[in-house]
Amino acid sequence: MLYPELADKPVVTIMGASAQELYDLGHRENFFYLQHAMGLASSIGLGLALHLPHEKVVVLDGDGSVLMNLGTLATLARYRPRNLVCVIFDNGSLLSTGGFDSHTASGITDLAAMARAAGIQQVAAVDSVLAFGEAAVEAFGRDDLSVIVAKVAAVGPNHYGMDLHLPENAFRFKRWIAGRKSPVPRETS
């Protein structure tokens, strides 16, 4: 459902099911798959958003990853990039490492509440496809930092593999971004 909105925006996704599913939907040069350094997807998104004011930046994050870098919620709130949408897929587990429950399973830890308490104003918590769709439309339409915490089932793809080397992904992602910028007009005289 989200895929069409991602076609023309810099997208950073975490590893595991998120990366594989996005890749399988159809890889694009504007997708960066963070296959390691858990927790840093939102920080990369913040760095992109602050320095690319004319782009809408999307981060596809996970509960396990966000729990690894909780300070990010405060840093995001402080700098409040208006052009950043962070989706946190909360499946209550560390799925691709064997499906252990994360702290958000059974409703113990509430990431949406943590995001609000960190100072992020636009936080939506959803647990149905319909609600997610509505929240996404609002998030992409508004000019403010938006976080959507989406409760999802802990299921993933039945295979993992991409025909894309990691540095290759980084090089091509950077070139895609560079290609988006309008050329600086040459000065004459």
Partner: protein, 171 residues
């Protein structure tokens, strides 16, 4: 023991002269005066993080965006950021130009800094991160420029260690 205002200015000027327009940092005592200057400078974007590892991600985003960006942190912060350095920057060939305050080293009176100070160089060597020592306000501008250049040409993390000689007022 107080931080040298003049030398902090020299470091900040060196950062500006290298064409840097964006900084990520977690403030610490030796960086305080230079971060104040960054904060007051309308041509410098300063992003303060809650934990140093965030700065690795932010720096990667800045790099992808084509921005000239430098990271500032204490050496303990570098220790806290290691997985980001290895599994984001090195893994994806993303350059990082890091100015790292070297606490717990020669002349350190505070016990709590000393373990970090003693292991910092060994960790940098173990990670194959090129590093140099900034000891003089006359040289630091050139060193910052050279650290930047190497980070970009090698697509790797590079560290300039800000020493006590540079950052503290010499009595």
């Amino acid at each position: 023991m107080s931080v040298s205002y003049e030398n902090s200015k020299a470091v900040f000027q060196g950062i500006k002269d290298a064409g840097i327009t964006s900084l990520s940092a977690l403030p610490e005592t030796w960086l305080g005066l230079l971060l104040q200057q960054a904060d007051r400078d309308p041509d410098m974007r300063l992003i303060q993080v809650a934990k140093e590892e965030e700065a690795i991600g932010i720096a990667a985003g800045a790099y992808f965006a084509g921005e000239r960006h430098i990271l500032l942190m204490q050496n303990h912060g570098f220790l806290a950021a290691i997985n980001g350095v290895v599994s984001l920057a090195m893994l994806y060939s993303i350059p990082l130009c890091m100015l790292i305050a070297l606490r717990g080293h020669w002349g350190e009176p505070y016990p709590w800094h000393t373990r970090g100070g003693i292991v910092t160089e060994g960790v940098l060597r173990a990670l194959n991160v090129p590093f140099e020592y900034a000891r003089s306000p006359k040289e630091v501008g050139r060193q910052i420029r050279e650290a930047w250049t190497l980070s970009q040409s090698s697509l790797s993390p590079v560290a300039l260690l800000l020493t006590r000689d540079l950052m503290e007022e010499q009595l």
